[in-house]
């Protein structure tokens, strides 16, 4: 079974995000980068399927030079090869452009199953898996917490409001992964040493038959106008007194000051 994982390098979840005035992207100064946690579920699921049914796992990412580190980590976890869309002309935060670049790359590859995180934790677009599926004309199931593969089809459990939906889809399909799907493994020393020798191929815009005008910032359908930090939370108000009076006061404040009731 040929499995492809779409993944992204994102700032570590512990990073204190900073935005410089006038900039439309977060500051990368002093930031450590990791594999997007939801993509880790995708990698782990791919590896488990490979271990159970055989096959190989290919990782694809689009990003700057440094993103190769995330691919190496994925290879160290056990993936077989990696493709890095590494060209300044690819770089953007626009979901359409990125999905287009990825789908053009995928069109030249063979796959039975494509996995990716349900969202990246940096810009939280939630769009890549779904858009790529549309562009490739294959089905997708999003926000999946359990995946069972049978002959030529997949049964996926997905989280919905207040319950679980069980969906069957023919393969190939795209599955976007949610927390709870599995517990991702750590890269062992052995895995890290083996990853050194695994193929990591860098691709430019021309390599995926894209024209510079349709991918990257040039092909973006959205433009970030401004990026600002959320305002500091104002200090709360403590209402004192006997419970009955206090409750009366709270209701009054909610009605007259907060204007929520």
């Amino acid at each position: 079974m040929k499995i492809i994982v779409l993944m992204k390098q994102v700032p570590d979840t512990e990073t204190k995000i900073q935005v410089k005035p006038g900039e439309t992207a977060i500051s990368t100064d002093g930031v450590t980068f990791v594999i997007n946690p939801y993509d880790e579920f995708a990698i782990e699921e791919a590896l488990r399927i490979k271990e159970a049914k055989g096959g190989d796992v290919t990782l694809i990412t689009l990003g700057w030079d440094k993103a190769a580190e995330a691919l190496r980590t994925g290879l160290a976890m056990g993936a077989d090869k990696a493709v890095h869309l590494n060209d300044p002309a690819f770089l953007t935060n626009d979901a359409h452009s990125i999905a287009l670049a990825l789908s053009k790359t995928l069109k030249k590859l063979q796959y039975d199953l494509i996995l990716c995180g349900k969202q990246a934790i940096d810009y939280d677009n939630h769009q890549i898996g779904v858009r790529v599926a549309e562009m490739l004309g294959i089905p997708h199931v999003a926000v999946v917490t359990k995946l069972v593969l049978e002959d030529g089809k997949a049964v996926a459990h997905r989280e919905i409001e207040g319950g679980t939906e069980v969906v069957e889809t023919p393969l190939p399909a795209i599955i976007t992964c949610q927390k709870g799907l599995n517990e991702p493994r750590y890269a062992s020393l052995k895995g890290i040493m083996q990853a050194k020798k695994k193929p990591l191929e860098a691709k430019k815009v021309a390599d995926v038959d894209a024209s510079p005008g349709e991918v990257g910032q040039a092909g973006a359908k959205t433009v970030v106008l401004t990026l600002t930090m959320p305002p500091d939370r104002a200090a709360g108000k403590v209402v004192e007194g006997e419970p009955e009076d206090a409750a009366r006061q709270v209701v009054k404040l909610l009605r007259e000051e907060a204007k929520v009731i």
């Binding site: 062992s188 020393l189 052995k190 050194k196």
Partner: protein, 380 residues
Amino acid sequence: MDFAFTKEQLMFKQEVIRFAEKEIVPRVREHDLKEEFDFESFRKLGEFGILGLHFPEDLGGSGADVITTVLASEALGEAGVDGGLTLSLGAHTFLCADTIYRHGTDEQRKKYVPKLASGEWIGCMGLTEPNAGSDVASLKARAEKKGDAYVLNGNKMFITNGPIADVAVVYAKTNPELKHAGISAFIIEKGTPGFSAGPNLIKMGVRTSQTSELIMNDCVIPAQNLLGEEGEGFNMSMQTVEWDRSALLAPFVGAAQYMLKRCATYANEREQFGRPIGKFQAVKHKLANIRIFVEAARTLVYRTAWCKDQGRALNHLEAAVAKLFLGDWSLVPTNDGVVLHGGYGYCHEYDMERIFRDGRLGPIGGGTSDIQKMIISKLM
């Protein structure tokens, strides 16, 4: 001189930190308070492969070099793992499993090393006795050969992992007439009649490691449990010194680095007199003190490890300097870390007092600072 690490070494160090922060550190405070060994964490260390990094793959290891092994040990401390768990790991891997690996027969290696590398079994090493500490050659434990067996009698003291070990490497005299040359090493398994451990000793620091007396009372073991040849024991125990001075000390360097990170964060966030306390010179100097200690200690430990990787004969002088420096010179910077946090530093929840307590083992365990000075002055 090349001070650079390979990409893979650095990547592995980061992965160890990530693993430890998520899987082990959340459990540290509770176990330290209760003075309990964390079996769950030890099992996880085994699964992740840290207990047998430097052993060959066919014995359950990863074939790592010494520097990588040292980086992994350092990373555990840097992530915030307590000195008790890392000491247990050190006694287990470097004092017990490594001695069997280095001096054991093929049969002994196959029987014990994989089980120790995976963490299925816990190992300990018994050298020190109630009346033989620094003067280790004066040890009194006796091993008498009777037919196909040895009969062991005597007591071992301050044995890390003593109460929880499944297998022990124990040193005893096969020839009491001789001093060093009369010492031999034996493998004793838990449950052997006549072999028992005392209760856990309550300690100032490294509290999650369990420490006890080992008691041998007409303990009969098969003759094939002798490690190496009779009389080689003392040299074997001395060979563990390189590990002792590098991989076993490295977590304490890591812990100081962890302390430094926590202090820097605190100094930036804590405000007094209308500004972060990090703006005050007195606080800056404390941070600098810790940093200086970390840099110097780390270099000494790496150098010991590098010598071992190069296959050089151990430079006892450098190893002794590293051991002494970590033990004695950590007193002021680890105290600074506590004081910088004020009242919070004195409280368990902030980890600072624990790192201070853990570090106090440094001038005592594995050869006291006075003994290190004796070695250093002798070699000048």
